[in-house]
Symmetry: C2
Subunit: 116 residues, 2 copies
């Protein structure tokens, strides 16, 4: 089984670097596809597909403005991810100490293999 469809999972949607760049580009500003494409250095069709994925997971909305379609940010979908990672906050501080202890253990001799 391959990975879960990017179109249904926000984590997967933002796993693609260009899509993260798009979200950043849309902070506070609505932009037409061509403009996003230019900023990314991608062809318009590729950009359109990325926007489509972001739209499917709801991170972006579109509205018609004349001949153009303006894409805008709907960041609400990022909150769950922020919360999920936030649930590890207590550990990424603690990690330092624990790993330091582990390194010390290695240096004192009886550790087994390499770290990481």
């Amino acid at each position: 089984m391959a990975r879960a469809a990017t179109t249904s999972d926000t984590f997967n949607a933002i796993a693609e670097p260009n899509r993260r760049r798009i979200l950043t580009l849309l902070k506070g500003v609505e932009r037409p596809v061509a403009e996003v494409a230019g900023a990314l250095g991608l062809k318009q069709p590729a950009t359109s597909k990325h926007l489509g994925v972001l739209r499917h997971v709801g991170l972006v909305y579109v509205r018609q403005a004349g001949k153009q379609r303006l894409y805008g940010l709907d960041a609400r979908g990022l909150e769950p991810i922020h919360e999920w990672t936030g649930g590890f906050e207590q550990y990424w501080n603690e990690s330092f100490d624990r790993l330091n202890d582990y390194v010390k253990e290695l240096q004192s001799g009886e550790g087994s293999k390499g770290i990481a």
Copy 2:
């Protein structure tokens, strides 16, 4: 070009649901591979591969303990993601208002196509 290798990008590493479950399982507890596999309902080799990916991006460390290899959480790699999503916090509140305005605009008649 396909997506950046999951082995080098934390965003990509946590895009896989089972890997997220693994990280959760390792909160505050080191566990041997077999135990993780049991909890996930995956075969041991598949689990080993997921742990390998997490190890490559540094979200997990291993240490030998007798015949077993105990995996532990190193959550530091999640902080950048927390920060990245945090950079959108001001927008996921604002989004409500903006989208509400948009919806109102649609209902009042002159909007163009569908939302989202």
